[in-house]
């Protein structure tokens, strides 16, 4: 996925940087509903055109975006091939277009919004739900850790692939998948230890 950019804020002065985090989160939610609700190749083209305009106005840098999307392209190609084979080209275009649109919009959100501001916004938004047992700070922290976890998982996948290649096991899926799962779980435990040790969200 767009591992280098998703989850990494880039300071700037564009209208997207100035827009409050709450508005951007609601915008992303609305876009997700629209993307899932509307069907057809023409809709996908329109979605992508609007999304690319939003990406351009965030000034995140096309080169770093394209570099980040290399991993996503592989997933997209595999998904497209599978859907084309199983459900036809229209379904493939629609699903892949929806996926790319949402990943790009999520990237715009994280690039233009500091995580700290996002935490504040989510905490504020969920505060009324405290009465029914929702912990706003906990949900906000989980959200930010999820964003942080995506590039970290991709980095671990790269390292695991390199380790498999170094041992001549590049064609063995077990040599790539098993260590990756173990390392992701170990990383999750280490993150838990780190939060615990820093007394965050005790």
């Amino acid at each position: 996925m767009s591992g280098d950019l998703l989850g990494l804020h880039q300071p700037g002065t564009t209208w997207l940087h100035r827009l409050p985090a709450g508005a951007k989160l609601l915008g992303l939610l609305a876009a997700s509903i629209v993307v899932v609700a509307l069907h057809g190749p023409a809709t996908v083209v329109a979605e992508l055109a609007v999304t690319l305009a939003v990406v351009a106005s965030s000034r995140m840098g096309w080169r770093s975006l394209l570099r980040s999307l290399r991993g996503l392209l592989l997933v997209v190609a595999m998904l497209a091939a599978y859907l084309w084979w199983q459900q036809g080209w229209m379904r493939a275009v629609e699903s892949v277009g929806d996926l790319v649109t949402l990943v790009l919009l999520a990237t715009v959100l994280t690039v233009t919004t500091p995580v700290d501001e996002m935490l504040d916004t989510i905490t504020r938004g969920l505060r009324p739900l405290r009465r029914i047992g929702v912990d706003p700070d906990g949900v906000a922290l989980a959200f930010s850790l999820l964003l942080r976890g995506i590039p970290t998982t991709l980095k671990l996948a790269d390292e695991t692939r390199d380790a498999a290649v170094a041992r001549g096991l590049e064609r063995d899926p077990r040599a790539r998948l098993t260590p990756l799962v173990i390392r992701v779980v170990a990383h999750a435990r280490a993150t838990g230890d780190a939060l615990h040790a820093r007394g965050i969200h005790d």
Partner: protein
């Protein structure tokens, strides 16, 4: 200085064929400004250090920090005892440097502008000015360890426990982090294989096979370890 007390503490971990004892019954009272824990790999140093803020739970016995029971009052203890890991990458949980410090500051500053300003000040205090918006992945090893330390000190602990904080660093950065740790006003419990650094502490404890093998002035502890290692 804080008073850290271990009262007949043991630590066991379950394995397939029973329990493995990683810390035999140990009683210690730690009151000095700087205490080095040294010894071979697997001797129980890190386990002992992790007991001090509840990352490891004692199987028997009690650990107290200024009278607070780590097992029962863990939350209060963790506000007193900050922990620095060997690998800073495991400790940094936010995407950028300033956001990671800000996470530690959320309890002290509810206002995001004040929080950001405090985080920037802390970064500058530790020689990381201008790096606030950089990805934590893109920082050098020394910068990451400084950032991890700044994140711990942001919670204003009374005690800093550092588990081999210089092991992954080059000579210059190891010296920088070591000097910084020893200059802190907080009480320092330092697990290290750097015997020169250990010798600069006030007290040294040598661990071997899950037991305290020597306890005394740091220079004497280092000398004991050099002979017995």
């Amino acid at each position: 200085m804080s008073r850290i007390e271990l009262d007949r503490v043991t630590v066991r971990f379950p394995v397939a064929d029973g329990d493995v004892v990683v810390l035999e019954e140990t009683s210690l009272s730690l009151t000095e400004p700087s205490i080095a824990l040294i010894g071979p790999n697997g001797s129980g140093k890190s386990t002992l250090a992790r007991l001090l803020n509840g990352l490891v739970t004692a199987s028997t016995g009690r650990v107290r920090v200024d009278g607070l029971d780590v097992a029962r009052e863990g939350r209060a203890v963790r506000r007193k005892v900050g922990f620095v890991f060997t690998d800073p990458a495991a400790q940094l949980v936010m995407p950028t440097a300033v956001e990671d410090i800000a996470l530690s500051l959320r309890r002290h500053h509810r206002d995001k502008h004040l929080r950001r300003a405090a985080a920037e000040t802390l970064l500058a205090d530790y020689g990381l000015e201008g790096l606030g918006d950089r990805s934590v992945h893109s920082l050098s090893g020394g910068q990451r360890q400084l950032l991890a330390l700044a994140g711990v000190l942001a919670i204003e602990p009374d005690v800093v426990v550092a588990d081999e904080p210089t092991t992954l660093l080059d000579l210059a950065n190891a010296r920088r982090i070591g000097d910084l740790l020893l200059s802190l006003p907080q009480q320092l419990v330092l697990v290290t294989h750097d015997l020169d650094l250990a010798a600069r502490c006030e007290r040294g404890i040598v661990m071997a096979d899950g037991r305290v093998a020597f306890d005394g002035p740091a220079a004497a502890a280092v000398a004991h370890y050099r002979v017995t290692a």
